[in-house]
Subunit: 527 residues, 2 copies
């Protein structure tokens, strides 16, 4: 093709000049420029995101160590109107000295990304991103104090991220005092805006308490007001167990990578050991279907054979993945949480059995509360949770919102205009629990609308609404009965008196007739 | 705080055991697991995203080299129903041999991230992510052929990303035949779904042609059908120039970093050289306001001084950033593009002057077309563009959608229900041009709703609608006149005949009266 030029003289570059501009981009530089992806797009949200990341980490750590969590959040105003110091302290297991700088001073570092086990954190970004944002806006480092046991010293660090190479830079390192046996305190100073109400730290803590009844939260706001959310149960949720990937939904590239990296010496044992729900017998069946020798060395499997294995896997009936990598809130605790926070006429909740998307198990729980003091008017209150963490922002992008909107609420006599949330005194609570929740962005505020996930949410909420329909029609029937009984009580005496006049009954005869008529009509009303 | 246990025996971890699980996460692993963030959440979108990333790169390269772009897209079905080979070939400047593996086999690598100059790509993720997805789903590498000039050989590569360390792995490397002087061809095989209609490759190419009238696009679909979009102009858009950051919106952390990394020897020259729109005089003014010595060594500026400098900058009147880092489509070409694609009764377009968000200049252009054959019914057609690239997905999350929805269209007599897009025969075209567009996710399908950006979009569309209001009220007045004239023509003759009968006029007298009455009524109608 010929090379054409526009007529105007213009700066133009050759391939060699372009090559000189090519550079590697560090992940910290990337997220500094794209900090709205991490939930730092405005000062109000920045404050919430910082609290959220720190509290989520504390809760994860306590639960993994089998400790009933006690977390204290303290927000103080520092210089100027728009600068705050956020301090979050827990009674968790603490962090060993060597890990502190990397956990708080490096993006994409953590223990939760590479395993399949439900936890609040999963990306290795959150808390270090909050520290990075704090440093960007106030110039202050993240301060961490952590103690791992009664006989250990408390280590104190001041850390920033070097955005050029995404490595921690330690500004200070010493031994500090710590009042207690163990735990971690993190302190971040940042530019933010403090507000109450919708999408506030208050709302996040309230909802966290609802979905985590085993947690005690203490909160001191910048205005000095204190709130304590006491735990409602001393029973920790069942600690989820790490599982292996389920063969359904595994992609060719991942399968090939697993075959190349396995420690198993034969294809059959690889399938059996590296995946869940593949028995010796099932592994053999897959190999035979694919026409690949079951004792082949996994590393030697060619791409086309892997391709056939994948087809065979997809055509083999397998059990759903084990549920113990997920720790649901549970029907009872979910309902108890709603009852504690909202006085309603009707409650219903359900924990579905686990389903799978892209080879990853997940479980949907839903609850609804209706009537009473739930809400005066307007659209229903939607409470969204992922792995027990409340989701406050990006409502419109979330699979939960999509599913609840898609449901036809009018068939349950709940008002709803097309394509909107239902309206009325209604609370809808949805929880997705999974070792890997697919969020729509790194800020983890909305669940990506995978069809498998949306379907499960629809089914869960539908199950809850079935009871609601019964409740509402019973309520309507009762109101109807009430109305009819009113008629009977109102008119029968008049009829009695009229008959007395016409037929010249005595008062006793009249009352007998009234009694008989009432019985008769009551009976016919009930039929 | 005391350590409490739940009664059940449960696996629990100590800080040391937790530390052993901490690991670095490679950016490729991160995006493999989070591939929905990159636009690969379903097979249909995956195909579109792959085409889009390759075409956007081709257009950027051609324009930077001052070459009128000719891009050929070819999609073929390979084995099975759901596997496609996407091939995109351009007449651009080519890529030097040493850069090929990293550009296509490493995430976060590129020439566009570190500079402030409008281009389609900006993250250094797109094309390598498409290759990664292809490899994940089909096991096939990315194939690249590139030639940088008539005397250079064409280099041929097959590359994959090693996701463990995000480095390219070269599977094949040799010299190939190339029919032409220079250019690049990239080939990716992937799992996908081919569909026409909304959100299809067709729609992306159509809209690309509309917003890029200097581009020739050739497209061969899997069903063998070919389409050619010929360029409408031989004039390349003005090549944008790289600018320095504007002081408004710069954050403390960024300012400190710039002061530490500058080559300037004094604070005053640093402000003057490293930022745009800061003259010697303005630099001095800022230093004086902040109470910092203007000849201080930038590296020695303490954090509190930097803090005062920032306050001084924000309180100093500065010119808007220079516009030449942005290359708008322009009012005329935008309207011509709409005219070519849509037959309407009314067109209007506007290119606003640049504004700033977070220290980054941006510019909004908008156009509307109304009536004619634009659309039969339903919500308005919204065409969203960022740096001349059509945005097809994530409509609801986009600042453009928010702004167009927020506008009160009823005041222009366009139907609209609350909180929705207007309805009727209406096309709304919005283009944001900026050296850094803040997208809501790495898939770059929606613009993050920064208030400054939304405001500019509202103003741009409002400017367009002003003409629409005039047009629509003129149209309504004309219709009204038409109706009145109809009345006159319809009833006057009857009145004439009635008068003739009553007053026994001759036919000539009758016609005279009719004529006079008509004139009189016509005159009063016009007053």
């Amino acid at each position: 093709m010929a090379r054409k030029r526009s007529e105007k003289a213009r700066p133009k570059l050759t391939a060699i000049e372009m090559a000189q501009q090519q550079r590697e981009i560090s992940i910290s530089e990337f997220f500094t420029k794209n900090r709205h992806l991490l939930g730092f797009d405005n000062p109000r949200r920045a404050l919430l995101t910082t609290v959220k990341e720190a509290v989520d980490n504390s809760l994860d750590a306590c639960e993994e160590a089998g400790i009933l969590p006690e977390v204290a959040v303290r927000i103080e105003q520092t210089d100027g109107e728009d600068r705050f110091r956020v301090r979050v302290r827990d009674n968790g297991p603490g962090i060993v000295k060597a890990q502190i700088p990397r956990i708080f001073g490096k993006l994409l570092y953590g223990s939760k990304f590479h395993r399949l086990k439900m936890s609040r954190g999963q990306q290795g970004i959150g808390i270090s991103a909050a520290g990075m944002y704090g440093h960007l806006t106030t110039g202050k480092p993240v301060t961490i104090t952590s103690k791992t046991g009664p006989k250990q010293p408390a280590h104190h660090y001041q850390v920033i991220i070097n955005t050029k190479d995404n490595e921690p830079k330690i500004l200070r390192e010493d031994i500090a005092e710590w009042d207690g046996e163990q735990g971690t305190e993190v302190e971040i100073e940042l530019e933010g805006t403090f507000q109450r109400g919708l999408w506030s730290v208050d709302e996040y803590l309230e909802q966290t308490a609802t979905a985590n009844p085993h947690v005690t939260l203490r909160y001191k706001a910048p205005d000095g007001k204190e709130r304590v959310f006491e735990r409602a149960t001393k029973v920790l949720p069942q600690e989820p167990r790490e599982i292996k990937p389920h063969p359904y939904g595994i992609e060719l590239g991942t399968l090939i990578k697993m075959l190349h990296e396995t420690r198993s010496r034969t294809l059959q044992t690889c399938l059996q050991n590296d995946f869940c729900r593949v028995s010796r017998r099932v592994a053999l069946e897959i190999c035979q279907k694919a026409g690949v020798y079951e004792n082949a060395r996994p590393k030697r499997i060619a791409q086309q054979e892997a391709d056939r294995l994948l087809t065979a896997i997809r055509g083999t009936k397998l059990m759903k993945p084990p549920m113990d990598c997920i720790s649901p809130i549970g029907k009872e605790l979910m309902e108890a949480g709603m009852r504690q926070q909202f006085e309603a006429d009707f409650y219903s909740s359900v924990t579905r059995s686990p389903a799978v998307y892209r080879g990853i198990p997940f479980l949907i729980e839903a609850g609804i509360a209706y009537g009473g003091k739930v809400k005066e008017s307007g659209p229903a209150k939607l409470m969204r949770f992922a792995n027990r963490v409340p989701l406050l922002y990006n409502t419109g992008a979330c699979a939960i919102t999509h599913a609840v909107t898609r449901l036809n609420w009018r068939q349950y006599s709940v008002e709803q205009s097309n394509g909107s949330l239902p309206t009325g005194p209604l609370l809808v609570f949805v929880h997705m629990a999974s070792p890997w929740v697919p969020f729509t962005s790194e800020s983890k505020e909305a669940i990506a609308p995978y069809p498998e996930i949306e379907k499960e949410i629809v089914l869960a909420v539908q199950e809850c609404t079935r009871g609601l329909r019964r409740f509402l029609s019973r309520k309507r029937r009762r109101a109807e009965e009430e109305r009819k009984r009113d008629y009977i009580q109102k008119y029968i005496p008049h009829i009695g008196e009229a008959l007395q006049e016409i037929l010249e009954f005595s008062d006793a005869e009249r009352d007998k007739v009234i009694g008989k008529l009432t019985d008769l009509l009551e009976k016919s009303r009930k039929d």
